[in-house]
Symmetry: C2
Subunit: 410 residues, 2 copies
Amino acid sequence: MVMENYAHLFSEDTASFFRSPVRDIFRRVDLNAIYSFAGGYPSADTFPLGDFRRIMSDVIDRTGAKAFQYGATQGVTELREALSARYGVPVGRIQITSSSQQGIDVCTRILADPGDVILTSSPSYLGALQSFRSYRADVRGVEYDPDPDRFAAAYAKAAEQAVSEGKRLKFIYSIPDFQNPSGETLPFGHRLGLAGVARKYGMLIVEDSPYRELRYEGEDVPTIYSIDPDITMHLGSFSKIMAPGFRLGWIFGHPDVLDKIYVCKQSLDLCPPVFDQYVAAEFISDGSLDRNLAKSKALYKEKRDVLLDMLERTMPEGVSWTHPDGGLFVFLTLPQGFDSVKFYDTALDAGVAYVAGSFFHPDGGGRNTMRLNFSFMSADRIREGIRLLASLLSDSHGQALYPARGGRDR
Amino acid sequence: MVMENYAHLFSEDTASFFRSPVRDIFRRVDLNAIYSFAGGYPSADTFPLGDFRRIMSDVIDRTGAKAFQYGATQGVTELREALSARYGVPVGRIQITSSSQQGIDVCTRILADPGDVILTSSPSYLGALQSFRSYRADVRGVEYDPDPDRFAAAYAKAAEQAVSEGKRLKFIYSIPDFQNPSGETLPFGHRLGLAGVARKYGMLIVEDSPYRELRYEGEDVPTIYSIDPDITMHLGSFSKIMAPGFRLGWIFGHPDVLDKIYVCKQSLDLCPPVFDQYVAAEFISDGSLDRNLAKSKALYKEKRDVLLDMLERTMPEGVSWTHPDGGLFVFLTLPQGFDSVKFYDTALDAGVAYVAGSFFHPDGGGRNTMRLNFSFMSADRIREGIRLLASLLSDSHGQALYPARGGRDR
């Protein structure tokens, strides 16, 4: 038998895989050669190479060969203890993951069968939508409402709807702090509402929290995990507070749920990267993390301010945007009818990249939106990039921006 | 609603998860406090800490921040190129994985739906069986036959049987070099036979090859991948030739299959650990790997010889074992009726650990077998440990060893 294609061999899940347009951009272009507002890359300036070198050398001296051996599936004790001390969560409620993306994926794996319902904010994190769909879950987006009661009611309504269809509800996915892609933070009342809906319908909450420590102004809002730790799986990440190249994150959750993740992770990859875990533990314990975080926040606050200021100065009428208190993203809304997917190639050809907002919408809506990242580039390049993007948008004012009044199709 | 348990929330896959008894041993006991023939841990003496320190420092100097940023999902170019140069496989056919366990898991994920048939040697690697079952695949073990034609015919018969039941065949899983747990190597004719059966029935072969470079005598046998690269997914690992703590492996395969793995890996964990990949690339390129491998092989050869010699000297009549040319394991067969699962607690209480052979059997057979690892402990401790194990076996000669003639039940 000649095997010309492999279609008969792939699992049903595989048909639901979809590519990240963000990752595909990175495959196509050199990010440093364009103005990249795409991606969620931290600034390379925030990676404390000197601290890394010193800590790595210390780990080799002190921990020796053990740092290079197989490690415990739940993560090395030193790192779980360092996280426990930092966040006040018992060690028995902490699982280390090989990236917080893995946290999302493994929660979905142990919870969702094909057709099971996951409720998420709309828009939401693309990598989470990829993971949910890869297990053929039924992902339903719920739009934000500034009123906490109406917000909770919208989730309750979506839950009722699913129940009336005979569907099983599994979890609510939320990024309450400096959301990806919107940059917005869920107020306390909204968090209480989500926990209430989850309790009422017997769901869990997967609280994805990679940006929480990147707050540039205002007060912390308690995590959903702190409101209801027995129904919340809280996902954390070293990517934005240390460096993404270590691929380390964590899950706080109820031990009964973590136990399933523990067994699942045995067959997924046995254990997280061991040496990297010792480095991360020391990075927390010796104060490097807090020192580095203070510097990163000052840097990112400046970049956010530059971005917001430039948007104010340059954007054509009819464009609005969010004003995040932290995180890495600002979300733009353009006039109805503007198509950020179509406009994307024009922008990339001119040397500026963003992520089209529709990719973050479970229902494919939001075509008149785009996500802009402000962490990756320097303040100067943010200025130049926004000037360029604004001029492209203004040029296309009667074309792409308002296609109904003379749009051109490609 | 009070959530007292989470049973209604778990996915159907979760019910098929089973715990690794090996990993659970590691949770219960300090491996350094007992004679551990369990596990597949490399010797800590083979980790070149000096090389690691030097290379890490070099990577920070030369690659800088890029080594700590997000990386390409398919793996960093430098590492794929280093593997390409070493193994003569085109870069486009190489995907880096976050451990070769992940290689097994992701191949299963993209290929197997519940009920799909996977053919594997019996006995086989426990972590692979865990992964196959976690996707509810129908795992069927095929016993080894020294005659290549009968060997291939047994696989063909298993395939025919599955087809006659209306099942879909997905892949053959094989560890042809120094198999886990048997330590035995598949002769060339057997490999040809497997490739032929796979072609005939439209299956892939997942060739798991973590021990291939640990050959202590005899000649290399060509990989199945080299026989038929378009139907073989070849899995490699840095765990036994560098150190397991980096959690890095690779897959060689057809680009059409790798593309599915690429998209899957985006939502699994985005990319493998980045800094670790640069370190591994340099470890290959600067010759450290080959230097270290020569030392590791000399060390392991000595340990294997000590183990085989001690078995010869101490084991009671009726016990036989394999004589591997490489790898990490020797497989013991005890008299029919001996129960290595039952005997396990006796052994552990006395301070010696092994892995019961039945855990490696997809059908739960092989209760009179056990796997002994010889890489982890020093030669002296291997001597003492085998002496202890042999005395325990001899003591229980009329009891556990031959329970039919006066066995006691616990």
